[in-house]
Symmetry: C2
């Protein structure tokens, strides 16, 4: 566990403080599609992603999902330790989107260190500000952009993450990411296909004209 | 200026630190509808509300508005000091929604104190977590609730804030709050009126059946 990968201010912690983090961290792995953290009742602790990819999403009473953010190698998830701060009052679910491995720092250990170390408290502030910015960006997407643009942006982002033009994604899964019904996704993808921008086959979407999608996204 | 109203951990600051806050704070007042802070370029500083009511909202390219949160007496706004943290990367506008008075603490003074005082750094974390929770709640509203429920919830909240069943609100203003076109607001209010829940007159909405609105909101 190379903590300075996760905490740029690692050298500003005392060796005792460093030991408390390293000594309490628990190593875990999770297969794709496993739920790692489930809402407020579940105070898992801070998640430090070692490998793979996690997805944080919110869930409606009817079971619809919308992705809030993704966590990649070297990212830290604070909201899986929501009991650490009294003012975190929203429910988030975190799942492994790929086979993943990660460390968990118990919330009480981290909370204790935040009341001792100014650099750690301020770094935690920065992590939260960063997630806040992501959520605000997402909200603006939802509020202001029409669905064709959002879908084009999503496909390009996926293609970028996967490093491939061929995406294994069901329409339902895309709907869960974007907060839309499967039917709406299918209709828009069919339109994209009729425009020659993508080719659809069972469970697959191939991007044929990334330039056209970019143009749509940025229009 | 009674700082302990704003900072519950005021006694944990040294008297030098207290003096820096008190000595740098600038007192301002603003008439209703005045813009106090405008986006990222504008690093106003922390706003501490003394009286009145402020509204934070985001703005689309087309000029549509959606309220993000409201600030009342004794509330603190962090995001008007976005230059304080590098990871705050979204644009927020803050206006006086009523005639208001407030103190401004310069961002550099506050930032300096955050790197000295653990209680202040952690309290700042709690303020941000609290705003984050509000934004997540709003996003869930937008994503999951149908507009009739959102409008009912909004009218009840306004009535609660104003302490009156008679609200002076144009349909356009409601649309700006909720991120919907004026026409949609008008249509839904007409429906509420036909159900006997409200009475509409020029620029006014009178709530006749708060129970019915509550039932709709909680359905």
């Amino acid at each position: 566990m190379n903590c300075s990968d996760f905490f740029p201010m690692w050298n500003q912690l005392t060796s005792l403080q460093q030991n408390r983090i390293e000594g309490s961290a628990i190593y875990r792995s999770a297969k794709r599609n496993t739920i790692i953290h489930n809402g407020l009742d579940d105070c898992t602790g801070l998640i430090l992603v070692n490998s793979g990819q996690l997805r944080a999403y919110i869930l409606s009473a009817e079971g619809r999902e919308v992705s809030i953010y993704r966590l990649f190698e070297r990212d830290i998830c604070l909201f899986s330790a929501s009991c650490m701060m009294q003012n975190i009052q929203f429910e988030i679910t975190i799942e492994a989107e790929k086979d993943s491995s990660f460390w968990i720092i118990p919330a009480d250990v981290y909370k204790g260190l935040m009341t001792e170390s100014i650099p750690l408290a301020n770094y935690t502030n920065e992590i939260m500000a960063s997630r806040f910015s992501e959520v605000m960006w997402l909200m603006e997407q939802i509020m202001w952009r029409s669905f064709d643009k959002r879908l084009a942006a999503f496909l390009l982002e996926e293609s970028n993450i996967e490093g491939s033009c061929k995406l294994r994604l069901t329409h339902e899964k895309i709907g869960n990411h974007l907060g839309n019904a499967r039917e709406v996704v299918t209709r828009m993808l069919s339109y994209f296909q009729s425009e020659g921008m993508v080719r659809l086959s069972r469970g697959n979407i191939e991007i044929l004209k990334p330039d056209a999608l970019q143009k749509l996204r940025d229009a």
